[in-house]
Amino acid sequence: MSEVNKSRRDFLAFSGRAGMATLVAQAVGINLGIVDVVRAESGGKLDPFRFAIISDAHLYSMDNHKFDQQLIDAVNKVNAMSPKPDFVLFGGDVAQNGTEDQLVKGKEILSKLEMPMHIIPGEHDWYLDMGDAWRGLFGDETWSFNHKGVHFIGLNSILVRDFWTEAGLSPKERMTVMEMLESPIPGPWGVHEQQLEWLANDVKDLGPGTPIVIFTHSPLWDYYPRWNFQTSDAPEIREILSKFDNVMSYHGHVHQTLYNRIGNMSSVAAMSTSWPWPYPPVELAFPETRMNRADPSIATDGQGVQIIDLNNEFQGLVQYKPFEDSLTPFMQDGFTV
């Protein structure tokens, strides 16, 4: 059996078990949508806990813009979860045009979260002032911390080669170029050398059994480079993390439900709170993790938040919690083989 088939079989088997958990949860009145159970073979036990992910708010400057309310809805959804997540990861793109007022508005809304938040930047947050306002509001974009036995890492994955200096572009022109998903100008982005060195140093003393969660804006695999559904130095990141038994990667940017597994790394995407993106013209290894086609007449269809429950063996139960009923039966009820 090929490696892909094997991991697929494992994936389906665990999803089946997750399905049972869903039925129990539904019996007590909680509507859970299950996408995936990510498995780890962690040597050490850890304290079970849950964390939530909110991503891609894309706030505009106008007052009472609909995306403001959608982010507020996401915050309320997370605050209402029972049990509450220990903390929230925000997956980047607080702002649409990178302006300080948009970032401030995002921080204000996110400050209503009743638990701590850790955040990494997206390209929409960054390229007006090269992260100055973002750093001032949210701090370092590269970080790690330990929580109940799990090592969490956040990296800034939206760095591109300088295309603006020689061309004499203004900051606003640079931002406009970066705002377009299919922009032919900036090319593929990544974390670049400095963060790779930081990462290697950050994990050098950790044993192979350490549970690792890595968090970036873009996926750590080549999904669809044209839309920067990729991180150019993801192979180097995966190499640095290859010594670990199991690594979970969570990311934003793609505005859709998505799962993949490469080597020791499972990869899960976050839904956005702003708008859903169509799936690009490539085959998925796990097509059953695609959400339903969003209905444009329902303004919040295809968007939502997600919650991850880690058990004491570093198995993660990933549940998408959409604003509307966006999930296929596979994701709603689990899957048995």
Binding site: Q96, F163, E182, P184, P188
Partner: protein, 176 residues
């Protein structure tokens, strides 16, 4: 039955004149020259280019909330021009693609609709249809998730290179 009778029967009343033209075997004009064809394609690219720009937010009247077509439809993905005319639940009837565009402009984008007969709407259609070239025309509902169209690099149509940054054709994806 003679050929001319057959043609007359096929076209019915008023077909006599038409049959005479067909039967004469004379073209109205010679085929276009290479140069003329190039000029016509350039005119199309000009329209496609205008559509591309509008798709990405250059016409302010199309939105009051900052949203452009490209927010949700990168590379015109899931705009599905090849599936129109089709029934739309928002209208309760079968509509043309430009009406779908106007629905998006008036609802998610809170903008002013574009005259379906205008050069601007033609340009939006030119861009979306150009990127969907080669895809079978399939009027009717796209109830399943639709994939984006394949765009190899650049803007997906003939346009002067910007000379900026890195074109996606320079990027070789790393095998996973």
């Amino acid at each position: 039955m003679t050929t001319s009778t057959a043609i007359r029967r096929a076209v019915g009343i008023g077909g006599v004149a038409a049959a005479a033209i067909v039967a004469s075997g004379v073209f109205a004009r010679a085929p276009f020259t290479e140069e003329e064809l190039a000029q016509q394609m350039d005119a199309l690219y000009e329209s496609v280019q205008l559509g591309y720009d509008m798709w990405h937010g250059t016409k302010p009247s199309m939105a009051t909330n900052g949203l452009a077509c490209g927010n949700c439809h990168p590379d015109t993905a899931a705009s599905n021009p090849q599936t129109f005319p089709k029934y739309m639940t928002m209208y309760g009837k079968v509509v043309q693609w430009p009406e779908m565009v106007n629905w998006c402009i008036e609802n998610p984008q809170l903008g002013e609709r574009i005259d379906p007969a205008s050069d601007d709407m033609t340009a939006l259609a030119a861009y979306a249809m150009y990127l969907h070239r080669g895809i079978p025309i399939q009027p009717g509902l796209a109830s399943q998730q639709t994939s984006g169209v394949v765009v190899e690099h650049g803007t997906g149509f003939k346009r002067e290179p910007t000379g900026l940054g890195v074109d996606s054709r320079d990027h070789t994806p790393t095998p996973n």
